[in-house]
């Protein structure tokens, strides 16, 4: 009996993400009365997962290194406003470049403070959250934002493809996935991230450049947030300043769902992708089922807590 339980537990540990995805897809199919599994809807789900998938990859890098990035949502908001602010002087391309630079800069500042001081990461990034949120209002002068350029110029390029409009977000998601996977699983820097998250003191003694590695993790998170901002504008065209705060919770949920260990040192990018797809599926199914957004926010919260409890339990 004991052996069977241990074996079942090991099996769950190894394949829990895939089991979760299967369960989620099944539930989604049931509560949406089958509409969810139509190909058209599945494509929409993946496209809608693009922006927050990219953010979640960045969040995963930071969490695996033993930190937290609470500023992701406001970095998206700041990037959106920065694109608008600099568009008037430098055009849309210049504005986009400026937004990328600013978001990476903000990430690097967080990373610098985290790696150089004893201030806990959640305080540093909470401070950055507040600053970036203010910046998004200041840069947009408190006005609603409209940026049709991305959609106008990029969408026609893919009109002949079977995926149509949705091709661009999906392609960017795949590229982000490949890049993040290569960084974390095939590079020296990726191994450093695991080493630091597992045991920072030991990693430091073993010669891992702790400060530089952390700096890069937060910088990557900033970069992915600004790319997500482009996807957001491509899909929604308009926004209000400060929008994107929900991405914090979503990215957190996706990383936890995807098997990233909340204390760092464990987790994979493919796992996070599964987590992202799970959450996007839940959201889509709940929307199809006609449940108002305010309630599915609560449902998602319950799911996150359940997953985290489960994670903490199988580890004991």
């Amino acid at each position: 009996m004991q052996v069977a339980i241990t074996k079942a537990r090991e099996g769950l540990q190894r394949y829990n993400q895939l089991v979760l995805l299967a369960v989620v897809l099944f539930i989604a199919a049931v509560i949406s009365r089958g509409i969810f599994v139509r190909p058209g809807n599945l494509i929409l789900v993946i496209a809608s997962a693009s922006a927050f998938g990219l953010i979640s990859f960045g969040q995963a890098l930071v969490v695996i290194s033993g930190g937290f990035d609470l500023s992701v949502g406001s970095l998206v908001a700041m990037s959106i406003s920065a694109i608008v602010y600099f568009r008037s002087d430098f055009g849309i391309i210049g504005g986009t470049i400026a937004a990328l630079v600013i978001a990476v800069g903000a990430g690097l500042i967080s990373g610098f403070v985290v790696s150089r001081t004893k201030i806990p990461p959640f305080i540093v990034t909470l401070g950055m959250l507040s600053i970036a949120d203010s910046m998004s209002w200041i840069l947009a002068a408190g006005q609603p934002i409209t940026v049709p350029e991305f959609n106008d110029n990029i969408a026609p390029l893919f009109s002949s493809l079977p995926l149509g409009q949705n091709a661009f977000p999906i392609i960017v998601l795949v590229v982000g996935f490949v890049v993040a996977s290569l960084l974390l699983h095939r590079s020296k820097w990726g191994r450093y991230i695991y080493a630091i998250g597992d045991n920072e003191a030991a990693a430091s003694i073993a010669g891992v450049p702790v400060r530089r590695t952390k700096l890069l993790a937060y910088g990557m998170s900033g970069l992915l947030c600004s790319v997500a901002a482009i996807i957001y504008l491509y899909q929604n065209i308009s926004a209000t300043p400060g929008e994107g705060a929900d991405y914090l919770l979503l990215s957190f949920a996706a990383t936890m769902f995807g098997g990233v260990y909340m204390y760092g040192g464990e987790g994979t990018i493919p796992g996070v992708l599964v987590g992202v797809l799970c959450l996007a599926s839940v959201t889509s199914a709940l929307t199809i089922a006609g449940i108002p957004p305010s309630i599915y926010q609560g449902v998602l919260g319950v799911i996150v807590l359940a997953v985290v409890l489960f994670q903490a339990r199988i580890r004991r």
């Binding site: 937290f68 403070v113 001081t117 004893k118 201030i119 806990p120 959640f122 305080i123 540093v124 909470l126 401070g127 950055m128 959250l129 507040s130 600053i131 949120d133 203010s134 910046m135 209002w137 200041i138 408190g142 919770l249 957190f252 936890m256 909340m262 204390y263 108002p292 957004p293 305010s294 309630i295 599915y296 926010q297 609560g298 449902v299 998602l300 919260g301 319950v302 996150v304 807590l305 985290v308 409890l309 903490a312 004991r316």
Partner: protein, 310 residues
């Protein structure tokens, strides 16, 4: 002698900061800052934030963190606004407080029994609570037309001191009294200081921590009700950002994030400082959007200042 002066300064640093702010306001913007209605508002908002900060400070002292502050405040106000037309004052005040207390207890249970890090547990709870509040209000604002509920915010003692502030004072006195005269006051600090030592000294660590999360929940509930009375309506989003303000105020008041250190009264003064600071920023007619930048810098700066002693 200089040593003693130094330690006196360290004890009173928050009062000094507050004094400097008040003097700056007096010198440059006396007429806009020092008029009765503005001071009244400053005191009222200080009370709302002060009570929420007290809850957050208690949680920080037992080495936890609670980011569900704003969500719980929003829920308390929304629930109250929802209940008041049908059930009257008393249930509309008591039920939200009980609900917030239970939510706080569940935070504590998730952290203690579920072994989830407090940040993750309370982020999840923030979401759940937001969903609850959203399903009550259907995403809309619920106005409160009950006269006596509105009057809580309008009421005052000696015309200059709002009832809110009297409430904050009472809550502070109770907290300080418990701290000095009951064993739980010492146990809370013992748990935050060295959990293992506290455990082997037969202090019921898990139970106390869960209770503290519950007490914090009730305090957020009170803050949320005051807020609802102040704006005469309930809406889930009204507490937004308060988790951030409460943590900043507590840290500014010298509550250590490492647990086991800090004076709750100073934390409340920290809340008053934040509100006065916002008042001064407004008096100088600087863009209101700058608040967030100031707040972020204060938070990180205060923690940095404290972290040199860790």
């Amino acid at each position: 002698m200089t040593r003693r002066l130094g330690s006196v300064f360290r004890e009173l640093d928050v009062v000094v900061i507050l004094g400097v702010l008040l003097v700056v306001a007096a010198v440059f913007k006396a007429s806009t800052f020092y008029n009765l209605s503005n001071l009244f508002t400053v005191l009222e908002l200080s009370a709302v934030l002060g009570i929420a900060t007290l809850g957050e400070a208690l949680v920080l002292i037992v080495k936890g963190v609670d980011v569900s502050v704003g969500a719980q405040m929003g829920l308390a106000g929304t629930l109250s606004a929802y209940l008041i037309p049908n059930f009257g004052m008393a249930p509309a005040i008591l039920i939200p407080l009980v609900v917030c207390g239970l939510l706080g207890l569940s935070n504590g249970i998730l952290v203690e029994k579920g072994r989830i890090p407090p940040l993750v547990a309370t982020i999840g709870m923030m979401w759940v609570v937001g969903g609850l509040a959203g399903s009550i209000s259907n995403g809309r604002l619920i106005p409160i037309e009950n006269q006596s509920f509105q009057e809580i915010a309008l009421g005052s003692v000696f015309t200059a001191v709002p009832l809110f502030f009297v409430g904050l004072f009472l809550v502070g006195v109770v907290a300080y009294f418990v701290r000095l005269n009951f064993s739980i006051g010492r146990h809370v600090y013992a748990i935050g200081g060295d959990e293992e030592a506290a455990y082997y000294s037969a202090i019921p660590v898990a139970k106390i921590r869960i209770v503290i999360y519950g007490v914090a929940g009730v305090l957020y509930g009170i803050a949320g009700l005051l807020m609802a009375s102040y704006v005469r309506s309930g809406m889930p989003a009204f507490g937004k950002g308060y988790e951030f303000k409460a943590i900043t105020a507590a840290v500014l008041g010298g509550i250590a994030l490492t647990g086991g250190q800090g004076n709750i009264i100073k934390a409340i003064v920290g809340a008053v400082i934040l509100i006065v600071l916002y008042g001064v920023i407004t008096a100088f007619a600087i863009s209101p959007y700058i608040q967030g930048i100031v707040q972020g810098c204060i938070l990180v700066g205060a923690v940095y200042y404290a972290s040199r002693n860790y």
